[in-house]
Amino acid sequence: MTHTPPFRLSTGGRLVDRALQLPFRFDGRHLRGLTGDTLASALLANGQMLMGRSFKYHRPRGPIASGAEEPNALLGLGQGGRFEPNQRATTTPLVAGMVTRSQNCWPSLDADIGEVNNLLAPFLPAGFYYKTFIHPRPFWKHLFEPFIRKSAGLGRAPTDPDPDRYEQAYGFADVLVVGGGITGLTAARDAADAGQRVLVLEQSPVWGGRTPTDHDGGQAAIDALLDDLTGRDNVTLRRNCMATGLYDHGYLIARESLADHDPNQGIPRQRLWRIRAGHVIAATGALERPLAFACNDVPGVMLASAVRDFIRDYGVAPGRRILIVTNNDDAYRTALAAQAAGLEVPAVVDARPVAEGALPRAVRAAGITVLTGMGIAKVKGGRHVDTVVLCDQSGEGRALDSIDCDVVAMSGGWSPVVHLYSHCGGKLIWDEDEAMFRPDPDRPPLGPDGQGNVTVAGAANGDLHCAGPLEQFEAPTQPVWVMPARAPYKLRAKMWLDFQNDVKVTDVELAAREGYASVEHTKRYTTLGMATDQGKVSNINGLAILSNALNQPIQATGTTTFRPPYTPLTLATIAAEAKGEAFQPLRKTPIHTWHETHGASFEPVGQWRRPYAYLRGGEDRHAAVAREILAVRKGVGTLDASTLGKILVKGPDAGRLLDMLYTNMMSNLPVGKCRYGLMCNENGFLMDDGVVARLSEDSWLCHTTTGGADRIHGHMEDWLQCEWWDWQVYTANLTEQFAQIAVAGPKARLLLERLGGSIDLSQAGLPFMQWAEGQVAGIPARVFRISFSGELSYEVAVPANRGLELWERLHLAGQDLGITPYGTEAMHVMRAEKGFIMIGDETDGTIIPQDLRLDWAISKKKADYIGKRAQRRLHMTDGNRWKLVGLESLDGQVLPDGAYAVAEGLNANGQRRVQGRVTSSYHSPTLDRPIAMGLVHHGPARMGQVLDFPMPSGATMRARIVDPVFYDKEGSRLNG
């Protein structure tokens, strides 16, 4: 059994399938629509004209448009994680079972409390908030802002995670046609004929644009073009694909809807296309403009084109008695469409003094009254249009007549959709004859070759009669910016320009009076053309009002900047695959899985995940770190050091290069030995450190910090390629080729010797700061006798594929020695106990090695190295720099990292002067007391002095300046 909703016409509706009914819900009501309906057409068919509330005054609103420009009919769609606010009813295809709800109203759409704002409207003009909420100052933060934020925004943001899948794809085309109307399809055919690879994007599910709706024979013309294009190898036709923004060098972003409102298919719901086009043809059509007459926002006042779209495309009657008001011939089509659908058309009110084009003549011949030189003084009706009061267009709005109707179909002319063209620099000119901004053919956006790379065609180019032979003569549009022309304030205060943001004619006039002469300022002051509307409906009328108020031509006022996206993009599409596990590439070492199964609590270091500590039993991180440190100091521990950068530098000039890159000398490092090196940038600031091993006569292996590997490799290549390109040096970043394990602690040698191998690990065989190559436990290995913990320590590098094997062998062999895996925090604390600096802790990009008292690692002999000149600059050498010291808190508490030591007096900003800060601070399990390092003004000369560190709580912590080496000052433990 079928039930026909009350406003579904018995005929027409080229886009709907009457055989397929779809149930859906709106604000809890169970309704039915047809396959092919949009949500808006389905609601209208059920007599639901009221679809939302305006943003500021909560005025009742129905749809005024039938497409992407719709400012009012924004609904909440779906439930739970799939809930989406602000979805345009006019472009949302109806799907069986859809759950929809109105927004910006409470407790219900019909009885909205916020409507009280409407009564206050006279007191809420443009700029009201700016003027009212500025004093007293403290009220802003604590009272006004929270209140305004609460009432701001249309729909509510969803709170659950989005369960759907989204993706992106890269596309390429010689010619990208945006718009699948008659202009776009024709342009596509021409480009395809010329052998170009053509991609056509159409925002809606149907091809043809306005042509099939507006012209007899239109559908046939479109079908013929589609037949021609379909099946051509060099043409791709993509529907449901909204081109939202055009960027530099022909880069276009488009959103394709794949399973938008039927997400259970398991395929991506939306796809963001990143298309690179040699040339773009914007065949984006035009949008109809509203007319500014009093109460033009009452539900039932719609764009004339939308009224005929609902009638002809969806077989839906927006009302029973449809009054047309226009300043052009095109709107007469609506009169004919309504009459043909059996609806009453009481009159066409035409603001022009004469209307003698083919369409007005046809309307008169059909028996419809045409009233020329007339306008609407006012629309009467609350939730729905009841009556329209007519007046003389040239007058002040004196009532001449009134007509009962339930829909007013208005047309203020058409504006080309120039958004894409304007997004990346295309300029517009004001076309006085047609009263529209159109693309200036002499100032298009430019491609990389300096030539225009966007062509605008058809209605988007201002050619409103672009359907070729299907067109009939139309008389010119006559601009009507205010109806009636001399409307008094009382009427102008009820003429809406921006329906979504509740901006009226008087708001723009007020902005002009208050000095907002720039259109950009007026936009922000009044909110004209903001939010999702982006001026699609409101822009031109607003500019015209502003120009009149400023008494200047519209060209002089110009337009606000057209910014992407043309219609909103979901954040999910922008993120696409980059969520969850794939949010960013996580770098894992060859031993990562072992860490995971042994309680590792990870920390990010660059994109790496490194074990911070391995938690055992009910241990917290702090306890685990302490346990690991003591285990290393007393026995033996292993650290996964695979993340350290390992860069091979090889060639006849490799030593020369390294002498330039490091502050100390590397060219004289003997083969088989290691040396700690510092790397600075040209500013002289320390950027990385690490141990360099000389592998052979012409090759060195440079270790970098974990985060520094790629950057330092790039730094090397930069100098090699761009400065010393005649030097014969080759580099290779071998970081990931090797797993590297630090075996540290007094029992390190004992443990390694148990594994067996070809390398003599004794003090004599492999002294500190030497390396040897051979095999360990049957695995090819390089063993470096280096130490960051201060203990006897070996770093063993093996091919990455065998790293886990070595790690497990070590742990098997070391069980009775109490072998303990240790993480980065234990490493940090142990190096701080030894007074070793850490890049990123003691350095922050403004620290020179001399600040850290690393002068011993700076060559005096070298004529040059990167950073040498900078380190001679006045502020580097004037003796006033903060220098590295140890800090010992007096009360036994750990100083907060980053705490500042204050000095006497105030600086120029009235703040306390400072004389130092904490750079590293820990509780030392080894010493069982706090230790810290810091940079202090004249620090090394002030040993024993006590500094004050004020805390946010108001208390002050005090700490004594001490030597930064807290443990094993003689360094005897290194030798085991």
């Binding site: 530099d248 880069y251 690179r276 300096g450 790039g714 390629q721 390109w725």
Partner: protein
């Protein structure tokens, strides 16, 4: 989003495959430089609205640095060339002057 053709591998790479490197043709000032010379080298950068020469690295490609001449206002690219060049080559100057006939190089020595 820019497209620049890497002169080292010939790939027309998009901006996400490239790493920017600032102004091209800087002359390094080493330990012998005066304070003024060094300051100019380290800190003073051109910031023209118009023709500009820049360093780019084909970071997600062949890894090589190259130089590009482009207009910062229109994003027209006049050409790319190898980093091992003291001054922009004649073909680049020619391409710039084709668009901006009044433009003159600000270097004196031959390329």
């Amino acid at each position: 989003m820019l497209i620049l053709t890497c002169p080292c591998c010939g790939i027309a790479a998009e901006e996400t495959e490239l790493q920017p490197g600032g102004e091209a043709h800087l002359m390094r000032v080493g330990p012998q430089g005066t304070d003024d010379e060094f300051e100019a080298y380290l800190f003073a950068r051109k910031n023209p609205k118009g023709v500009h020469f820049e360093r780019w690295r084909h970071a997600y490609g062949c890894g090589k640095w190259f130089l590009a001449a482009r207009c910062t206002a229109t994003l027209q690219v006049f050409g790319t060339y190898e980093a091992q060049t003291k001054h922009p080559p004649a073909r680049i100057v020619e391409a710039i002057q084709k668009t901006y006939p009044e433009w003159q190089p600000d270097w004196t020595t031959a390329p």
